[in-house]
Amino acid sequence: MTLTAEPATATRELTLSQALNEALREEMRRDPNVFVMGEEVAVWGAGGGIFGVTRGLVDEFGPERVRDTPISEEAIAGIACGAAVTGTRPVAEIMYVDFTAMAMDPIVNQAAKLRYMFGGKAKVPMVIRAQEGAGRGNAAQHSQSLEAWFVHVPGLKVVTPSFPADAKGLLKSSIRDDNPVIFLEHKALYQTRGPVPEGEYLVPLGVADVKREGKHVTVVGVHTMVHKALAAAEKLAAEGIEVEVVDPRTLVPLDVETIVRSVKKTKRVVVAHEAVERGGVGGEIAMQIVDNAFDYLDAPIKRVCGRNVPVPYNLNLERLAIPQEEDVIAAIRELVAGAV
């Protein structure tokens, strides 16, 4: 299992939130055109960000480059777009992905399309950071996973890190990318700790990572589902079922090659994400497999995704609404039944 696309180097343990904070610092030091804006990014809590991702940035870079905004999501995204097309590199935060519902016009109709509509004569190097997912009892308006909306919009790139090291390297690449990048963090993963290489490194957009190798079944997971798949793999290994876990890391561009290579090897695949199943990105990933490896499949592609309901508040109901480790295990057992 490789943690990044880079050669392994000396590492230390960081939380995903700390890793993102390092990425922002390094890129802001590197390029004076990089700046951060959003709600509560400068002052809240211990100095920025409801999950501490922007903590302390205002102390180092000042209020000109770390801007708390009024509660105006459409303006935040629109201003980021205008700032990007005129030569700066905004990293704008929308506090919860649910609130991008107020910012879809600037993201989808402006940022994603300007370059193409202008015949290639513009660049829109902006990053929209938003946080998605359930698991904290925030209920229906603060727990959605909406990556599928953005995946459906040509012109956008979509990033979904699951590990601290990936998160740092991917955010740095996203900030240096000349396209609008929707950088989606999962609220339940900020405190996840993991080794992060010392010093400068990037994780390229469009390169999946095989988090665990196995030969009986492939699980392609997004965000928390990568972790649940790894836990499931550990349990199933005891029974001799070898699960390969693939983390696409970026949904656009999608590393179809790595996914297909794995499926051609295992002949069985589970696609797992927390977003509701209906219309989720699982359908797209599955169709890429159908397009490229249909004849290799020994069993139907299975989806393990969020139930088609708004996320409920009650703990038990919320747990049931989103896929759990047991669900991944059950799906895998079904697929390998008899075969292993």
């Binding site: 809240w44 009024p70 509660i71 105006s72 107020m102 925030n138 209920a139 308006q141 088609n308 508040y313």
Partner: protein, 324 residues
């Protein structure tokens, strides 16, 4: 505006005091339960702002509507919400207002005119304006009070809806509770205009500032706005000058404001202020007031008892009520 137009029978005095106590004690308990981990997610208390919601709702009829915010417990209680059903919801129980599916930010009682707390800052504005439109189409003379904060004031949907409400003379009262902060952000950092009510000029409706710590001033201001709306003269903007005594949410370290500032505001406690005034004016006696507070304590104890005894929602309910 003169009080003459709006009298203050003793029943109303008692009701106002009871509701303010309900809010204060309910929220105090909420903080405790949240810290114990019995309440999930995030919850925002109304302590210190009681006069705004209670004064406003005391000027309304039972069939009038309100829309609320993420800081919704107070508005719900003020409009007649029941502590037991609210508490059960906060504990995620099947007996709660939302059967445990909504939690703190979604408590609603549509039949009582409470169109819901809202997790989206500004989320209630379109709903309130739409309620105003259906009132107009159905030709009833109800009104809808739309609560939002100084932070929510900056959402574009307010500007769009206020303009339409003014154009169509919808019976909506836009009530901004200016408690000086949006999370850690002070109004100076969120609004380019110091006097928020001045924005009414752009909306095409009258705008006034009211002492939001004075429950009777709020009652009167909303009553006049409601009369205007019922007459068919359209919407109004009311900015209530108030303050939240506690953090934005339970857990907020409040490094963005000083203890002194909070203390200064605590000096003008809206409940004590109203109680003293009523006692001085001889409208109630101290024993009566103590009696009410004691009753509220009992009611709250029973509500908590009810909530904790109530069952968790059945797992079958997960996929119920997604569609009608």
């Amino acid at each position: 505006m003169t009080v003459a137009t709006l009298d203050l029978p003793k029943t109303v005095v008692l009701d106002i005091l009871r509701k303010m106590y309900r809010i204060r004690h309910f929220e105090t308990k909420v903080i405790e339960l949240f810290q114990e981990g019995q309440i999930r997610g995030s919850t925002h208390t109304y302590i210190g702002e009681e006069a705004s919601g209670v004064g406003a709702c005391s000027a309304l009829r039972p069939d009038d509507y309100i829309t609320s915010t993420h800081r919704g417990h107070g508005h719900c209680i003020a409009k007649g919400g029941r502590l037991d059903l609210m508490m059960a919801e906060l504990l995620g129980k099947s007996t709660g207002y939302c059967k445990g599916k909504g939690g703190s930010m979604h408590i609603a009682d549509v039949d009582a005119g409470i169109l819901g707390a809202n997790g989206i800052v500004g989320g209630g504005i379109g709903i309130a304006t739409g309620a105003g439109l259906s009132i107009k189409i159905k030709r009833t003379d109800q009104v809808c009070v739309c609560f939002f904060g100084d932070g929510g004031f900056n959402q574009g949907v307010l500007y769009e809806c206020a303009n339409i409400a003014a154009l169509w003379k919808l019976p909506v009262i836009y009530l901004c509770e200016n408690n000086k902060y949006a999370m850690s952000t002070p109004i100076e950092k969120s609004s380019a205009v110091a006097d928020l009510s001045a924005r009414a000029a752009a909306f095409g409706m009258p705008g006034i500032n009211v002492d939001g710590m004075d429950v009777l001033a709020m009652r009167e201001a909303v009553w006049h706005a409601a009369e205007r709306a019922r007459r068919g003269d359209g919407p109004s903007l009311i900015v209530a000058d108030t303050y939240r005594f506690e953090g934005h949410n339970v857990g907020d370290g409040q490094r963005y404001r000083t203890r002194e500032e909070v203390e200064r505001w605590r000096q003008s406690d809206p409940i004590l202020r109203f109680r003293d005034q009523m006692v001085r004016q001889g409208l109630i006696t101290d024993p009566e007031a103590d009696q009410i507070e004691a009753e509220v304590q009992d009611e709250l104890a029973r509500a908590i008892e009810f909530a904790s005894q109530s069952p968790e929602p059945d797992v079958e309910t997960l996929e119920q009520d997604v569609y009608a």
